[in-house]
């Protein structure tokens, strides 16, 4: 028996949805002739599609279950990740950073780093992103397969890993960024519809918002703060307000929306600079809705099923209890949509980084348009095979009990270099005196600082120390210190070394075509 009680009609709904997605991806990719079509959708994307794609890519299948589960355990404070952890950074990005990225005609953020600083900065950042995205692809495949096996109630993990990879791989291989964005549009709509359904039926079952409050009140002290967004600094929660404000809102969120290749690449494929800006503002408006449809059902689950052993059971339990046959299929389609939209984004972004920042930069600078398309597609295949392999490695580690904390470690891995990357981008934009040697030294020192803090905190007993941080999984704090450390080193090293040539900053003002260095 599956966790959500799916029937034949549900599977028909899911099959129709999946076949439609594949058909759309194939139809889009059939006419491609160049690498520019594959990596930047020929710069033809409209703002509304990019905005929906931004949101769909950011919410994975594991997030629907995980955020619902975190809301079940910790309450509404998890919504900070979608609200103050997204909206302000998206608005700032829309008016300051995205216009410059679009105007300069770059394909990747590391490419921007070379044009503003030097080739070393480009290689180091491209390597960081590539390692993170390639490993994360495997982890996403494994985590998604694990949840699919529970929700569908059959099939081995290996089967679901391969099936998911093939579905996503086929349309990303043919359709590149354009297929990723347009399938994300469908996935975003299906995801919102499926989760809205759970929210609406859940609230109706409890007698509306007032009924939800009454049910939570009846549970006593445990849910006293379940509808509070801001958690006091001394609470035993990873979402205390200083971590949210300084780590999430001021460092990780801007780093993600300004510097994450998988995110920014969409706006680079926009029809115009204005459309690229509009996509971010539209995405910010959509983001306001996300916690309402994902986190609030977790809180509804507390009120309805207060004794679940694990918060991650909250969403599947609600689905099986509230939704009739057929509509459960809509939710499963929403779940699959969410997981596919994240995997396809990281797959396409990884292929773009490998092709542009390594192949075209160091192996074949004169590759013609068709060659770029062919290479981009083959890199996609290789990355998909790698992701399947790494998913099996994670599965093996999980089954042999060696995967303890692996998800948290990879979350932390992103925090290691996101803070320093943000410091480099900010200095690159806002301070003309920042030079290449300063940026590279600052970035490396920032990463070294965050890794050192992580090691000292995680294995503190080996060093005979008390823990450095008093909250569980303090990755938000690592990013703050790494950002500040990198910023300080960039400033000092830039001031004591020779300035770069003026052309390193002049291109920020209005060049309209790409010219790979």
């Amino acid at each position: 028996m599956n966790a959500t009680g799916l029937g034949t009609l549900d599977f028909i709904v899911v099959a129709v949805y999946l076949l439609g997605t594949i058909a759309l991806g194939l139809a889009i990719g059939w006419k491609f002739e160049s690498g520019r079509d594959f990596f930047l959708a020929g710069r033809s994307l409209p703002w509304w599609a990019i905005g929906m794609s931004l949101v769909a890519s950011d919410i994975g299948g594991t997030d629907i279950i995980g955020v619902g589960g975190a809301a079940y355990s910790f309450g509404l404070s998890v919504a900070n990740f979608e609200w103050i952890g997204c909206v302000p950074a998206m608005i700032v990005a829309a008016f300051i950073f995205v216009p410059v990225f679009w105007r300069t005609g770059i394909y990747t953020i590391p490419e921007f780093m070379e044009r503003r600083f030097n080739a070393g900065m480009r290689v180091v950042l491209a390597l960081c992103w590539l390692i993170f995205m390639a490993c994360n692809l495997g982890i996403m495949l494994f985590a998604s397969a694990k949840m699919l096996a529970v929700m569908i109630g059959g099939g081995s993990l290996a089967l679901w890993i391969v099936v998911t990879a093939l579905f996503v791989g086929v349309y990303t291989f043919f359709g590149g960024l354009k297929a990723v964005v347009y399938t994300d549009v469908i996935q975003c709509a299906v995801m919102i519809a499926g989760c809205l359904l759970v929210l609406f039926l859940g609230l109706r079952d409890l007698g509306g918002w007032d009924g939800l409050h009454q049910s939570l009140d009846a549970l006593g002290e445990r849910t006293d703060h379940h509808t509070d967004l801001l958690v006091p600094a001394d609470r035993d929660s990873p979402f205390v307000w200083p971590a949210i404000l300084f780590g999430l809102a001021m460092v990780l969120s801007p780093a993600y929306w300004i510097g994450n290749q998988a995110i920014v690449q969409r706006s680079l494929g926009a029809k115009s600079q204005f459309q690229a800006q509009a996509s971010y503002v539209w995405g910010a408006l959509l983001k306001i809705l996300i916690p309402v449809i994902i986190a609030v059902p977790g809180i509804i689950a507390v009120a309805k099923f207060p004794d679940l052993a694990d918060g991650d059971q909250a969403f599947p339990t609600l689905v099986s209890e509230l939704l009739p046959t057929g509509l459960r299929g809509v939710f499963l389609a929403a779940f699959i949509a969410a997981l596919m939209s994240s995997v396809d984004s990281y797959l396409n972004a990884s292929a773009t980084v490998v092709t542009n920042d390594f192949y075209l930069r160091y192996l074949n600078r004169n590759a013609d348009d068709h060659r770029q398309l062919v290479v981009g597609r083959w890199v996609t295949v290789i990355l998909m095979i790698w992701a399947i392999f790494f998913a099996f490695v994670v599965q093996w580690m999980d089954e042999s009990g060696k995967a303890s904390g692996i998800y948290a470690i990879f979350q932390t891995l992103m925090a290691f270099f996101q803070g320093p990357a943000l410091a480099v981008i900010l200095c690159g934009f806002l301070w003309k005196r920042a030079n290449g040697i300063g940026a590279l030294t600052g970035f490396l020192c920032g990463v070294a600082l965050s890794v050192s803090l992580f090691v000292l905190d995680r294995w503190h007993e080996s060093f005979g120390l008390e823990p450095l941080f008093q909250v569980p999984e303090p990755f938000l704090y690592f990013s703050v210190w790494a950002f500040l450390g990198a910023l300080a080193v960039i400033v000092v090293v830039s001031l004591i070394t020779r300035p770069d040539s003026p052309e390193k900053t002049a291109f920020l003002k209005g060049e309209t075509t790409s010219s790979s260095p």
Binding site: W83, V92, F95, A233, L245, A249, F274, L285, L468, Q470
Partner: protein
Amino acid sequence: MNSEPGITILHRLGESLRELMVAIPMPVVRGIFVGLLLLLLLWVLRLPRERVRPPAEVATGWSSNLKLWAAVALGIQALIYLVF
């Protein structure tokens, strides 16, 4: 100087910062969150026309003013942090 086993200067620095954060009353914390959002809203409202609208040669109406939609997003955010 009094030294405790397993405690370094990093621990002392972290503990001082933590105590500082714990001492801030939650209504003030709420004010900081809402205030930051309102400051950002003010910045958006003061952005020049050429940064929030399509080029002049493209005929557009009021709905093409990104300042308006960004202000709506930030206004809703400020309201949410004020209420919850």
